[in-house]
């Protein structure tokens, strides 16, 4: 991940900052691992209620997955555009990332909403508690990421001159690490929660 930094003139401090952020992502990884373990233990404890196979709509989840994957891709392109000091292209790609991320979050929230309306909220069973905790924590991270993208876009809009400073490139790099990391976590949610929910064992 330091490839981008290795080729631009940076001081010691920058790589220390990104390393610190990487360590934060690793601890977040452990947090999600414990939530996944909880979900795996509780996934059959439906207390007479519906299980994953009956509740989840696979095509909707596939759409969500493709949307988040595409936003991860455009986020990477936005950082590359910033490194090339192409402000317009950077804003375009980050705008696209923001829209895709917001669409993803909206789809997730409407899924939660319909589950709650049908009486399948987190209070229904151990399985649903674990489901809402795991997927909700990911959604919370996405929300924070969206706010971060918005802040970076406003900063770029107000930026004087067309060269990105070393500091803003460093921040953009950390934002993209965060966003790619959330897509990694989603691959596991997609596979273990949604796809495996439909598998008969």
């Amino acid at each position: 991940m330091n490839e981008t930094l290795a080729e631009t003139p940076v001081n010691e401090n920058t790589s220390k900052t990104t390393f610190g952020f990487w360590l934060y992502l690793m601890t977040d990884c452990v947090l999600f691992a414990s939530l996944f373990a909880t979900y795996a233990v509780l996934r059959n404890n439906t207390f007479g209620g519906p299980g994953g196979g009956e509740l989840f709509s696979q095509p909707v989840v596939l759409t969500e997955t493709i949307i988040l994957l595409t936003s991860s891709f455009t986020c990477g392109l936005a950082v590359l555009a910033a490194r090339a000091n192409n402000k317009r292209q950077m804003l375009f790609y980050f705008g696209l990332t923001f829209l895709l991320g917001a669409t993803f979050l909206f789809m997730e929230l409407s899924e939660f909403r319909s589950l709650v309306i049908e009486g399948n909220s987190w209070r229904r069973s151990g399985f649903l508690s674990a489901f809402f905790t795991l997927v909700g924590t990911h959604g919370l991270h996405i929300t924070v990421g969206l706010i971060w993208i918005a802040v970076m876009m406003i900063r770029t809009l107000k930026m004087r001159g067309r060269k990105f400073s070393e500091t803003s490139l460093k921040r953009l790099l950390m934002l993209s690490m965060f966003w790619h990391f959330l897509d990694l976590i989603w691959i596991f949610i997609f596979t273990f929660v949604y796809l495996m929910g439909g598998v008969q064992l």
């Binding site: 330091n2 691992a33 373990a37 790619h180 990391f181 997609f190 596979t191 273990f192 796809l195």
Partner: protein, 119 residues
Amino acid sequence: MNASIERGRRQYVLGFGLSIITTLTSFYLVSRQILAGWDLVYAIVGLALLQVIIQLLCFLHVGHEKEPRWNLLALDFTLIVVVIVVIGTLWIMDHLNYHMTSPSDTDTYMIQDEGFQKR
């Protein structure tokens, strides 16, 4: 500078394409019921791990840093912790489930797994 940006873009396109392919493959396997039971689970978990490796290499550029590779070391250590947490939890909770089984299932388990015979 420009060459490295071009290389970065190629990496992103490659990672994006491969990720789309693995996602659609695992979705196809599940929706068409090509495999069943544990075979299906192994297949989609394998595809998920493959996609994670693709994204770690192409999107997060793991392993591209100069020596000493502290980022890679932190990642390795985290993976060990994650494996211990997840597999350990499943192992312990499975055994708890088994040993604290309900009275109605106890007879079945005693005959099936522990070698007792009904008289």
